[in-house]
Amino acid sequence: MKPQPVTLKILNVLSVLLFLTALGMVFLYAPLEETMNYVQKIFYFHIANAWVGMLGFLAAAVSGVIYLVKHDQKWDIVELAAVEISVVFFLIAILAGSIWARPTWGAYWTWEPRLTTAAILEMVFVAYLLLRQGIDDPDRRARFSAVYTLIGSISVPITFMSIRLFRTIHPVVVGSNSSASQGTFSMTSPMLITMFFSLFTFSVIFVDLFWHRIRLGQLAQHVEQLKLEEHQ
Protein backbone atom coordinates (compact mmCIF):
# COMPACT_ATOMS: atom_id res chain seq x y z
CA MET A 1 0.00 0.00 0.00
CA LYS A 2 1.30 3.40 -0.93
CA PRO A 3 2.26 5.40 2.14
CA GLN A 4 0.02 8.29 2.99
CA PRO A 5 0.88 11.36 0.98
CA VAL A 6 2.00 14.35 2.96
CA THR A 7 -1.21 16.19 2.21
CA LEU A 8 -3.23 13.41 3.74
CA LYS A 9 -1.11 13.34 6.87
CA ILE A 10 -1.56 17.07 7.23
CA LEU A 11 -5.27 16.61 6.71
CA ASN A 12 -5.40 13.99 9.47
CA VAL A 13 -3.83 16.37 11.94
CA LEU A 14 -5.89 19.28 10.70
CA SER A 15 -9.11 17.31 11.14
CA VAL A 16 -8.37 16.54 14.74
CA LEU A 17 -7.30 20.10 15.49
CA LEU A 18 -10.31 21.63 13.81
CA PHE A 19 -12.64 19.27 15.59
CA LEU A 20 -11.22 20.17 18.97
CA THR A 21 -11.39 23.86 18.13
CA ALA A 22 -14.97 23.53 16.95
CA LEU A 23 -15.85 21.74 20.16
CA GLY A 24 -14.25 24.54 22.09
CA MET A 25 -16.08 27.16 20.12
CA VAL A 26 -19.38 25.44 20.61
CA PHE A 27 -19.04 25.24 24.34
CA LEU A 28 -16.97 28.27 25.17
CA TYR A 29 -17.36 30.83 22.45
CA ALA A 30 -20.96 30.58 21.23
CA PRO A 31 -23.38 32.21 23.63
CA LEU A 32 -26.11 30.34 25.39
CA GLU A 33 -29.38 30.62 23.56
CA GLU A 34 -32.23 32.03 25.60
CA THR A 35 -34.96 29.47 25.38
CA MET A 36 -33.12 26.28 24.61
CA ASN A 37 -29.88 26.63 26.54
CA TYR A 38 -27.43 23.82 26.11
CA VAL A 39 -29.65 21.73 23.91
CA GLN A 40 -29.30 24.25 21.15
CA LYS A 41 -25.58 23.59 20.95
CA ILE A 42 -26.08 20.28 19.30
CA PHE A 43 -27.42 22.24 16.37
CA TYR A 44 -23.93 23.17 15.25
CA PHE A 45 -22.94 19.56 14.72
CA HIS A 46 -26.32 18.56 13.41
CA ILE A 47 -26.26 21.09 10.60
CA ALA A 48 -22.65 20.35 9.72
CA ASN A 49 -23.20 16.61 9.47
CA ALA A 50 -26.41 16.96 7.50
CA TRP A 51 -24.88 19.32 5.03
CA VAL A 52 -21.79 17.21 4.55
CA GLY A 53 -23.88 14.07 4.21
CA MET A 54 -25.81 15.66 1.40
CA LEU A 55 -22.64 16.78 -0.33
CA GLY A 56 -21.41 13.22 -0.09
CA PHE A 57 -24.55 12.05 -1.80
CA LEU A 58 -23.98 14.57 -4.55
CA ALA A 59 -20.41 13.34 -4.90
CA ALA A 60 -21.71 9.78 -5.21
CA ALA A 61 -24.21 10.76 -7.88
CA VAL A 62 -21.60 12.60 -9.91
CA SER A 63 -19.14 9.71 -9.60
CA GLY A 64 -21.86 7.36 -10.77
CA VAL A 65 -22.53 9.32 -13.90
CA ILE A 66 -18.82 9.61 -14.66
CA TYR A 67 -18.49 5.85 -14.24
CA LEU A 68 -21.30 5.16 -16.68
CA VAL A 69 -19.65 7.42 -19.21
CA LYS A 70 -16.04 6.35 -18.76
CA HIS A 71 -16.26 2.79 -17.41
CA ASP A 72 -13.23 3.44 -15.26
CA GLN A 73 -13.38 1.33 -12.11
CA LYS A 74 -11.79 4.02 -9.98
CA TRP A 75 -14.97 6.09 -10.11
CA ASP A 76 -16.82 3.16 -8.63
CA ILE A 77 -14.43 3.16 -5.68
CA VAL A 78 -15.02 6.89 -5.25
CA GLU A 79 -18.77 6.44 -5.41
CA LEU A 80 -18.78 3.67 -2.81
CA ALA A 81 -16.53 5.67 -0.52
CA ALA A 82 -18.83 8.68 -0.76
CA VAL A 83 -21.92 6.65 0.08
CA GLU A 84 -20.35 4.70 2.94
CA ILE A 85 -19.14 7.83 4.64
CA SER A 86 -22.29 9.81 3.99
CA VAL A 87 -24.36 7.04 5.56
CA VAL A 88 -22.57 7.63 8.83
CA PHE A 89 -22.46 11.40 8.70
CA PHE A 90 -26.11 11.57 7.85
CA LEU A 91 -27.03 9.14 10.59
CA ILE A 92 -25.21 11.32 13.08
CA ALA A 93 -27.14 14.30 11.79
CA ILE A 94 -30.44 12.52 12.20
CA LEU A 95 -29.59 11.33 15.69
CA ALA A 96 -28.35 14.76 16.72
CA GLY A 97 -31.54 16.22 15.38
CA SER A 98 -33.59 13.76 17.40
CA ILE A 99 -31.75 14.62 20.57
CA TRP A 100 -32.48 18.27 19.93
CA ALA A 101 -36.08 17.56 19.03
CA ARG A 102 -37.10 15.87 22.26
CA PRO A 103 -36.89 18.85 24.57
CA THR A 104 -37.87 21.31 21.86
CA TRP A 105 -40.76 19.69 20.08
CA GLY A 106 -41.64 17.12 22.70
CA ALA A 107 -40.85 14.14 20.53
CA TYR A 108 -37.76 12.42 19.18
CA TRP A 109 -39.27 12.33 15.75
CA THR A 110 -41.90 14.10 13.72
CA TRP A 111 -42.92 13.38 10.20
CA GLU A 112 -42.22 16.77 8.78
CA PRO A 113 -40.55 17.33 5.37
CA ARG A 114 -36.90 17.67 6.16
CA LEU A 115 -36.75 14.87 8.67
CA THR A 116 -38.76 12.54 6.51
CA THR A 117 -36.63 13.26 3.47
CA ALA A 118 -33.55 12.69 5.59
CA ALA A 119 -34.85 9.29 6.62
CA ILE A 120 -35.62 8.44 3.02
CA LEU A 121 -32.18 9.54 1.88
CA GLU A 122 -30.62 7.37 4.54
CA MET A 123 -32.71 4.44 3.28
CA VAL A 124 -31.50 5.07 -0.26
CA PHE A 125 -27.92 4.87 1.04
CA VAL A 126 -28.62 1.61 2.82
CA ALA A 127 -30.43 0.18 -0.20
CA TYR A 128 -27.37 1.05 -2.27
CA LEU A 129 -25.12 -0.88 0.10
CA LEU A 130 -27.46 -3.86 0.08
CA LEU A 131 -27.55 -3.79 -3.71
CA ARG A 132 -23.78 -3.97 -3.88
CA GLN A 133 -23.73 -6.84 -1.45
CA GLY A 134 -25.84 -8.96 -3.76
CA ILE A 135 -23.60 -8.74 -6.81
CA ASP A 136 -20.32 -10.55 -7.31
CA ASP A 137 -19.23 -9.40 -10.74
CA PRO A 138 -17.38 -6.09 -10.24
CA ASP A 139 -18.40 -4.62 -13.56
CA ARG A 140 -22.08 -5.34 -13.05
CA ARG A 141 -21.86 -4.11 -9.46
CA ALA A 142 -20.37 -0.83 -10.55
CA ARG A 143 -22.93 -0.34 -13.32
CA PHE A 144 -25.93 -1.12 -11.16
CA SER A 145 -24.67 1.04 -8.30
CA ALA A 146 -24.15 3.96 -10.63
CA VAL A 147 -27.65 3.57 -12.05
CA TYR A 148 -29.16 3.43 -8.59
CA THR A 149 -27.37 6.55 -7.38
CA LEU A 150 -28.65 8.31 -10.46
CA ILE A 151 -32.23 7.26 -9.76
CA GLY A 152 -31.86 8.14 -6.10
CA SER A 153 -30.34 11.54 -6.76
CA ILE A 154 -33.28 12.49 -8.93
CA SER A 155 -35.89 10.99 -6.69
CA VAL A 156 -34.81 12.41 -3.34
CA PRO A 157 -35.01 16.09 -4.30
CA ILE A 158 -38.41 15.41 -5.84
CA THR A 159 -39.39 13.71 -2.60
CA PHE A 160 -38.33 16.73 -0.63
CA MET A 161 -40.30 19.06 -2.84
CA SER A 162 -43.36 16.90 -2.69
CA ILE A 163 -43.35 16.69 1.08
CA ARG A 164 -42.89 20.43 1.10
CA LEU A 165 -46.38 20.78 -0.25
CA PHE A 166 -47.21 20.15 3.36
CA ARG A 167 -46.66 22.66 6.12
CA THR A 168 -43.34 22.49 7.88
CA ILE A 169 -42.54 22.74 11.54
CA HIS A 170 -38.79 22.34 11.04
CA PRO A 171 -37.07 25.54 12.17
CA VAL A 172 -35.99 27.61 9.24
CA VAL A 173 -33.08 29.11 11.01
CA VAL A 174 -31.32 31.12 8.39
CA GLY A 175 -33.23 33.49 6.21
CA SER A 176 -36.80 33.08 7.31
CA ASN A 177 -38.93 35.39 9.33
CA SER A 178 -41.71 32.96 9.89
CA SER A 179 -42.46 32.54 13.53
CA ALA A 180 -44.87 29.78 12.70
CA SER A 181 -41.95 27.38 12.92
CA GLN A 182 -41.51 26.28 16.47
CA GLY A 183 -38.05 26.27 17.79
CA THR A 184 -36.79 28.96 15.49
CA PHE A 185 -34.22 31.13 17.05
CA SER A 186 -32.41 34.12 15.74
CA MET A 187 -28.70 33.74 15.37
CA THR A 188 -26.31 36.23 16.80
CA SER A 189 -22.98 36.85 15.18
CA PRO A 190 -20.89 34.50 17.33
CA MET A 191 -23.43 31.78 16.68
CA LEU A 192 -23.13 32.26 12.94
CA ILE A 193 -19.38 32.12 13.13
CA THR A 194 -19.51 28.96 15.19
CA MET A 195 -21.92 27.38 12.75
CA PHE A 196 -19.80 28.12 9.72
CA PHE A 197 -16.70 26.97 11.49
CA SER A 198 -18.45 23.78 12.40
CA LEU A 199 -19.46 23.33 8.80
CA PHE A 200 -15.91 23.84 7.67
CA THR A 201 -14.57 21.44 10.27
CA PHE A 202 -16.84 18.63 9.25
CA SER A 203 -16.14 19.23 5.59
CA VAL A 204 -12.47 18.78 6.31
CA ILE A 205 -13.17 15.65 8.35
CA PHE A 206 -15.31 14.35 5.50
CA VAL A 207 -12.59 14.90 2.93
CA ASP A 208 -10.07 13.25 5.24
CA LEU A 209 -12.21 10.16 5.80
CA PHE A 210 -13.22 10.11 2.13
CA TRP A 211 -9.62 10.04 1.07
CA HIS A 212 -8.83 7.26 3.53
CA ARG A 213 -11.80 5.24 2.30
CA ILE A 214 -10.77 5.62 -1.34
CA ARG A 215 -7.30 4.41 -0.44
CA LEU A 216 -8.89 1.45 1.31
CA GLY A 217 -10.91 0.71 -1.81
CA GLN A 218 -7.80 0.79 -3.95
CA LEU A 219 -6.04 -1.50 -1.52
CA ALA A 220 -8.93 -3.95 -1.66
CA GLN A 221 -8.78 -3.95 -5.42
CA HIS A 222 -5.06 -4.57 -5.28
CA VAL A 223 -5.60 -7.55 -2.96
CA GLU A 224 -8.16 -8.98 -5.39
CA GLN A 225 -5.67 -8.62 -8.18
CA LEU A 226 -2.99 -10.45 -6.20
CA LYS A 227 -5.37 -13.25 -5.32
CA LEU A 228 -6.23 -13.75 -8.97
CA GLU A 229 -2.65 -13.69 -10.10
CA GLU A 230 -1.88 -16.37 -7.58
CA HIS A 231 -4.45 -18.65 -9.19
CA GLN A 232 -3.39 -18.08 -12.75
Binding site: L130, L131, L150, G152, S155, I158, S162
Partner: protein, 234 residues
Amino acid sequence: MKPGASGYKPASSLPGAVVAIVWKDLAAELRSRELLSAMLVFALLVILIFNFALELDPGTRRVATPGILWATFAFAGTLGLNRSMAVEKDRGCLDGLLLAPVDRSAIYFGKMISNLAFMLIVEVVVLPVYSVLYNINLFNPGLIIVILLGSIGYVAVGTLLSSMAVQTRTRDVLLPILLFPVVIPILIAAVKACSGFLQGLELTEIMPYINLLIVYDVIFTAVAYMVFDYVVEE
Protein backbone atom coordinates in the same frame (compact mmCIF):
# COMPACT_ATOMS: atom_id res chain seq x y z
CA MET B 1 -34.20 -23.40 -47.34
CA LYS B 2 -30.72 -22.19 -48.19
CA PRO B 3 -29.55 -19.46 -45.92
CA GLY B 4 -30.04 -16.07 -47.41
CA ALA B 5 -32.26 -17.56 -50.09
CA SER B 6 -35.12 -15.39 -49.07
CA GLY B 7 -32.94 -12.53 -50.20
CA TYR B 8 -34.09 -9.89 -47.83
CA LYS B 9 -32.73 -9.53 -44.34
CA PRO B 10 -35.38 -8.83 -41.74
CA ALA B 11 -35.58 -5.43 -40.16
CA SER B 12 -37.38 -5.28 -36.85
CA SER B 13 -39.11 -2.16 -35.73
CA LEU B 14 -39.25 -0.86 -32.21
CA PRO B 15 -43.03 -0.67 -31.91
CA GLY B 16 -43.31 -4.14 -33.43
CA ALA B 17 -41.00 -5.60 -30.82
CA VAL B 18 -42.74 -3.75 -27.99
CA VAL B 19 -46.11 -5.08 -29.10
CA ALA B 20 -44.67 -8.57 -29.43
CA ILE B 21 -43.36 -8.50 -25.86
CA VAL B 22 -46.58 -7.15 -24.41
CA TRP B 23 -48.63 -9.69 -26.32
CA LYS B 24 -46.31 -12.47 -25.18
CA ASP B 25 -46.59 -11.51 -21.52
CA LEU B 26 -50.35 -11.16 -21.63
CA ALA B 27 -50.85 -14.40 -23.54
CA ALA B 28 -48.60 -16.36 -21.19
CA GLU B 29 -50.32 -14.84 -18.17
CA LEU B 30 -53.76 -15.55 -19.54
CA ARG B 31 -52.84 -19.18 -19.67
CA SER B 32 -51.13 -19.69 -16.35
CA ARG B 33 -52.74 -16.89 -14.37
CA GLU B 34 -50.00 -17.35 -11.79
CA LEU B 35 -48.91 -13.78 -11.59
CA LEU B 36 -52.34 -12.21 -11.50
CA SER B 37 -53.79 -14.61 -8.98
CA ALA B 38 -50.81 -14.11 -6.72
CA MET B 39 -51.12 -10.35 -6.97
CA LEU B 40 -54.84 -10.34 -6.44
CA VAL B 41 -54.86 -12.68 -3.49
CA PHE B 42 -52.03 -10.75 -1.93
CA ALA B 43 -53.77 -7.43 -2.45
CA LEU B 44 -56.97 -8.66 -0.87
CA LEU B 45 -55.06 -10.11 2.05
CA VAL B 46 -53.34 -6.79 2.60
CA ILE B 47 -56.67 -5.04 2.72
CA LEU B 48 -57.88 -7.63 5.16
CA ILE B 49 -54.88 -7.11 7.38
CA PHE B 50 -55.40 -3.37 7.32
CA ASN B 51 -58.93 -3.95 8.44
CA PHE B 52 -57.74 -5.57 11.63
CA ALA B 53 -54.59 -3.55 12.06
CA LEU B 54 -56.41 -0.25 11.93
CA GLU B 55 -59.62 -0.34 13.86
CA LEU B 56 -61.42 2.35 11.97
CA ASP B 57 -64.80 3.92 12.42
CA PRO B 58 -66.55 4.90 9.17
CA GLY B 59 -65.36 8.50 9.33
CA THR B 60 -61.69 7.66 9.80
CA ARG B 61 -62.01 4.97 7.21
CA ARG B 62 -62.78 7.56 4.55
CA VAL B 63 -59.66 9.44 5.41
CA ALA B 64 -57.49 6.35 5.52
CA THR B 65 -58.78 4.86 2.27
CA PRO B 66 -56.31 6.41 -0.19
CA GLY B 67 -53.42 5.37 2.04
CA ILE B 68 -54.64 1.83 2.41
CA LEU B 69 -55.24 1.53 -1.31
CA TRP B 70 -51.80 2.77 -2.26
CA ALA B 71 -50.04 0.66 0.33
CA THR B 72 -51.85 -2.32 -1.17
CA PHE B 73 -50.93 -1.38 -4.72
CA ALA B 74 -47.32 -0.79 -3.77
CA PHE B 75 -46.93 -4.20 -2.15
CA ALA B 76 -48.84 -6.15 -4.76
CA GLY B 77 -46.93 -4.23 -7.39
CA THR B 78 -43.56 -5.54 -6.24
CA LEU B 79 -44.88 -9.04 -6.48
CA GLY B 80 -45.85 -8.51 -10.09
CA LEU B 81 -42.60 -6.79 -11.01
CA ASN B 82 -40.56 -9.58 -9.48
CA ARG B 83 -42.47 -12.37 -11.18
CA SER B 84 -42.50 -10.66 -14.54
CA MET B 85 -38.72 -10.38 -14.63
CA ALA B 86 -38.07 -13.74 -13.02
CA VAL B 87 -39.78 -15.44 -15.95
CA GLU B 88 -37.26 -13.91 -18.31
CA LYS B 89 -34.30 -14.68 -16.16
CA ASP B 90 -35.02 -18.27 -15.23
CA ARG B 91 -35.18 -19.82 -18.64
CA GLY B 92 -32.58 -17.58 -20.10
CA CYS B 93 -35.25 -15.73 -22.03
CA LEU B 94 -33.66 -12.40 -21.29
CA ASP B 95 -30.83 -13.53 -23.53
CA GLY B 96 -33.40 -14.44 -26.13
CA LEU B 97 -34.73 -10.90 -26.01
CA LEU B 98 -31.25 -9.43 -26.11
CA LEU B 99 -30.37 -11.51 -29.16
CA ALA B 100 -33.13 -9.92 -31.19
CA PRO B 101 -31.85 -7.25 -33.57
CA VAL B 102 -33.83 -4.53 -31.93
CA ASP B 103 -33.05 -1.62 -29.65
CA ARG B 104 -32.93 -2.51 -25.96
CA SER B 105 -35.50 0.09 -25.13
CA ALA B 106 -38.02 -2.18 -26.80
CA ILE B 107 -37.47 -4.63 -23.97
CA TYR B 108 -37.88 -1.86 -21.43
CA PHE B 109 -41.08 -0.48 -22.90
CA GLY B 110 -42.49 -3.92 -23.60
CA LYS B 111 -41.98 -5.08 -20.02
CA MET B 112 -43.10 -1.75 -18.62
CA ILE B 113 -46.36 -1.83 -20.51
CA SER B 114 -47.14 -5.41 -19.56
CA ASN B 115 -46.25 -4.68 -15.94
CA LEU B 116 -48.56 -1.69 -16.10
CA ALA B 117 -51.30 -3.84 -17.56
CA PHE B 118 -51.03 -6.35 -14.73
CA MET B 119 -51.03 -3.64 -12.12
CA LEU B 120 -54.08 -1.99 -13.65
CA ILE B 121 -55.91 -5.30 -13.78
CA VAL B 122 -55.29 -5.79 -10.09
CA GLU B 123 -56.42 -2.25 -9.34
CA VAL B 124 -59.56 -2.70 -11.39
CA VAL B 125 -60.48 -5.66 -9.23
CA VAL B 126 -59.45 -4.18 -5.90
CA LEU B 127 -61.40 -0.94 -6.27
CA PRO B 128 -64.89 -2.44 -6.48
CA VAL B 129 -64.08 -4.99 -3.80
CA TYR B 130 -62.90 -2.26 -1.48
CA SER B 131 -65.95 -0.15 -2.32
CA VAL B 132 -68.22 -2.96 -1.34
CA LEU B 133 -66.36 -4.03 1.77
CA TYR B 134 -66.15 -0.54 3.19
CA ASN B 135 -69.21 1.04 1.69
CA ILE B 136 -67.26 3.86 0.09
CA ASN B 137 -67.92 4.91 -3.46
CA LEU B 138 -64.63 4.76 -5.32
CA PHE B 139 -66.03 5.21 -8.82
CA ASN B 140 -64.64 8.66 -9.15
CA PRO B 141 -63.12 9.62 -12.51
CA GLY B 142 -60.50 11.81 -10.84
CA LEU B 143 -59.50 8.98 -8.57
CA ILE B 144 -59.13 6.62 -11.49
CA ILE B 145 -56.92 9.04 -13.36
CA VAL B 146 -54.71 9.46 -10.32
CA ILE B 147 -54.38 5.71 -9.95
CA LEU B 148 -53.43 5.45 -13.60
CA LEU B 149 -50.79 8.17 -13.35
CA GLY B 150 -49.37 6.77 -10.15
CA SER B 151 -49.18 3.27 -11.57
CA ILE B 152 -47.31 4.50 -14.62
CA GLY B 153 -44.62 6.13 -12.50
CA TYR B 154 -44.39 3.12 -10.21
CA VAL B 155 -43.97 0.74 -13.09
CA ALA B 156 -41.52 3.01 -14.93
CA VAL B 157 -39.04 2.86 -12.09
CA GLY B 158 -40.07 -0.61 -11.00
CA THR B 159 -39.30 -2.22 -14.34
CA LEU B 160 -35.82 -0.75 -14.35
CA LEU B 161 -35.08 -1.74 -10.77
CA SER B 162 -36.55 -5.22 -11.12
CA SER B 163 -34.29 -5.78 -14.13
CA MET B 164 -31.41 -5.03 -11.80
CA ALA B 165 -32.72 -6.95 -8.82
CA VAL B 166 -33.32 -10.12 -10.81
CA GLN B 167 -29.65 -10.25 -11.72
CA THR B 168 -28.45 -10.17 -8.12
CA ARG B 169 -28.19 -12.92 -5.56
CA THR B 170 -30.74 -11.37 -3.24
CA ARG B 171 -33.34 -11.01 -5.99
CA ASP B 172 -36.91 -10.82 -4.69
CA VAL B 173 -35.98 -9.34 -1.36
CA LEU B 174 -33.98 -6.57 -2.93
CA LEU B 175 -36.65 -5.05 -5.14
CA PRO B 176 -38.84 -3.46 -2.44
CA ILE B 177 -35.72 -2.19 -0.67
CA LEU B 178 -34.55 -0.48 -3.83
CA LEU B 179 -37.95 0.63 -5.04
CA PHE B 180 -39.82 2.05 -2.09
CA PRO B 181 -37.52 4.91 -1.07
CA VAL B 182 -37.41 6.06 -4.64
CA VAL B 183 -41.12 5.82 -5.33
CA ILE B 184 -42.21 7.89 -2.33
CA PRO B 185 -43.12 11.00 -4.37
CA ILE B 186 -45.71 8.92 -6.20
CA LEU B 187 -47.19 7.63 -2.99
CA ILE B 188 -47.35 11.09 -1.50
CA ALA B 189 -48.88 12.74 -4.52
CA ALA B 190 -51.25 9.89 -5.32
CA VAL B 191 -52.56 9.57 -1.79
CA LYS B 192 -53.07 13.30 -1.48
CA ALA B 193 -54.74 13.56 -4.85
CA CYS B 194 -57.02 10.57 -4.26
CA SER B 195 -57.92 12.01 -0.91
CA GLY B 196 -58.71 15.31 -2.54
CA PHE B 197 -61.03 13.70 -5.06
CA LEU B 198 -62.79 11.64 -2.44
CA GLN B 199 -63.39 14.66 -0.30
CA GLY B 200 -64.64 16.59 -3.30
CA LEU B 201 -62.04 19.31 -3.07
CA GLU B 202 -61.63 21.94 -5.77
CA LEU B 203 -59.57 20.84 -8.74
CA THR B 204 -57.18 23.75 -8.23
CA GLU B 205 -56.24 22.34 -4.86
CA ILE B 206 -55.57 18.90 -6.25
CA MET B 207 -53.70 19.98 -9.38
CA PRO B 208 -50.28 20.45 -7.73
CA TYR B 209 -50.29 16.77 -6.83
CA ILE B 210 -51.41 15.68 -10.25
CA ASN B 211 -48.71 17.84 -11.79
CA LEU B 212 -46.20 16.20 -9.52
CA LEU B 213 -47.32 12.80 -10.72
CA ILE B 214 -47.06 13.79 -14.34
CA VAL B 215 -43.61 15.32 -13.84
CA TYR B 216 -42.42 12.22 -12.03
CA ASP B 217 -43.80 9.93 -14.71
CA VAL B 218 -42.14 11.84 -17.51
CA ILE B 219 -38.79 12.24 -15.80
CA PHE B 220 -38.47 8.66 -14.68
CA THR B 221 -39.70 7.05 -17.85
CA ALA B 222 -37.10 9.10 -19.70
CA VAL B 223 -34.32 8.32 -17.24
CA ALA B 224 -35.16 4.62 -17.07
CA TYR B 225 -35.25 4.39 -20.85
CA MET B 226 -31.85 6.06 -21.05
CA VAL B 227 -30.06 3.88 -18.51
CA PHE B 228 -31.77 0.59 -19.32
CA ASP B 229 -28.92 -0.44 -21.62
CA TYR B 230 -26.46 -0.29 -18.75
CA VAL B 231 -28.63 -2.63 -16.77
CA VAL B 232 -29.06 -5.39 -19.34
CA GLU B 233 -25.92 -5.26 -21.42
CA GLU B 234 -22.69 -6.74 -20.27
